[in-house]
Amino acid sequence: MPLLTSGHRYVVDKLAEEITQVVFGFDGGIATSEDGGAGRPAITVTPLVRIVDDNTISVEAKLTTVDSFTLPLREVCIRSADRALFRYTYDAITKSSDTELIFSTIIEVN
């Protein structure tokens, strides 16, 4: 039974509405679907969420020179107010006061 285009748009709207926070953290453990959120959160920022089309959402989060940490950042978690939705890990990035960091993602609903 195919999901109608309006159904896709509905899911996209709901997801875009729910995404309100992006959390950067220090835990570099492998990301799995069983994760509950960021392992060791460092900072939470408010992302810029845009609906690109009926199937696609763009989420962008930025850390400015104001934010700096002694430990390298290894994870990022996209979440709503009460639950984590996505989590990704990457190689260590040291965030200092002379660097800016941008995290961006495209979410497609098929």
């Binding site: 039974m1 195919p2 999901l3 896709h8 899911v11 997801l15 020179t65 990022v76 996505f86 990704y88 990457y90 190689d91 260590a92 990035i93 040291t94 965030k95 200092s96 002379d98 660097t99 800016e100 960091l101 941008i102 995290f103 961006s104 993602t105 495209i106 979410i107 497609e108 609903v109 098929n110």
Partner: protein, 466 residues
Amino acid sequence: MADAYNRTTGRFSEAQPTVMKRVRKPSFVDNAVRHAAYSSSSTKRVAAAPTRTDFQASSDKTYTLTEEDDSIRIEHTTSAGNRFRGGIFHDDDQFDASSIVPSLFVNKHSPRERLAPYSIETATKGTRIRLNNLKGRSLNDIGFDGKTLQIAQPVSIGLRTSDLAERIVNSSRKTLSGFRISAPSNVFVAKDINNVDALTALRYLSRHDGFMTKSDSYGIASYIHQLRGNKSVYIHQDMVSGGISEENMDAAPNRVTVRGKSRAKNDDNVVQVDDIESQKDGVREVQGGIFAPTANNRNSTKNIGRKFLATAKRAKGAKMMTETINSMQVEAGDVVLFQDINEKTQNMALRVRHNLTGRRSDIKVSSIEGSLEDLLQRAQEGDISSMFDDGQEENQQVTEKNYSVSASITVKTTWAIAIRQIRPEGLIIGHPDRGLIRGDGAVVESVNGLLTLGTSESKWTIKGNG
């Protein structure tokens, strides 16, 4: 039409001729059952009056019950003007030890509570009826708590098995090209079939009448007798050039426990049947017994057990005829008439393999359709047939249909994380590694990027993506 009322005995039991003497338009008779016994000759089927003594007519008369040890004593219900306390009158006789034992006693106020009598004994007051199988329990223990009884004989109205097979197939005929019946059966089965797949229902019916379900390559299903096949072929032993081998003699079972339908609180209707002729070389019992849910009295249960053992005996000894000539037309399901020196036997071809270039065939035949394992497995499908009663009834005015559909959503994400260096103080022209004047000059290697002359920001470097 002859008078149905027998003026000598006072019973409405006169046999009626089967053909009317004058033509008239049919009159609709509501809620009547014509009871006849069917027999078949080589040319036709004949309906005749049933044997009078096979059936006991019963009435609304009630009897009071007094429980005794492993028996009950019944008396006619007394009323104003009737205080008779002698032996019970039933049918056209008074009960004594030689009378035909009634079929069932039923609680007047709760007809589902039934007792199966075993024998009749005389008593000072009323008649004593011995009950079997109480196993030391009281009537209350087995769930019978009535004090007023009626004598009853359960009757079921069913369909001829071949007609019932046709109705079963009709409900799901979109997958079939056709359905055929070679000849009507003589067996009637009264069983509701609720929400069961057609093949299981047909195999269930075939247990009663010795028929079987077959299908052919054209999508036509047939409900035909077990001993009938698609076509007959004749094979002489001289045509079998590669020899005949008999399969390992599967030891056919010679004892079976048949569990029929429980018909009373004290009768589980479980019968053990033995084929004593073949027990000379040991007893072989069917593991778990077989289930016969339409056998609602001991005779039916015994008959099913006997039929099963007889069929099992025929099932052993499948033969393989190797490299048979002039047999390219033989197909599985054909009846093979095999002639050897001693006798001509009729078998069913189970499996055929043709060598087209050599024009030889290997044919496996057996006395019945299928092997002994098939027979056992079919007979032990009791659990499946017992769910006939549990199925949802479809013949009701408000029918519940359950449908389900499904859909799925896939969410795909593509992400990237990038970093760039920002130098808020000063600029070195020429060499990116040298420190800043009045700055600490520390540049972390991992975020080092190319600086463009005139700007304090480096290019973005992708540090992770997925």
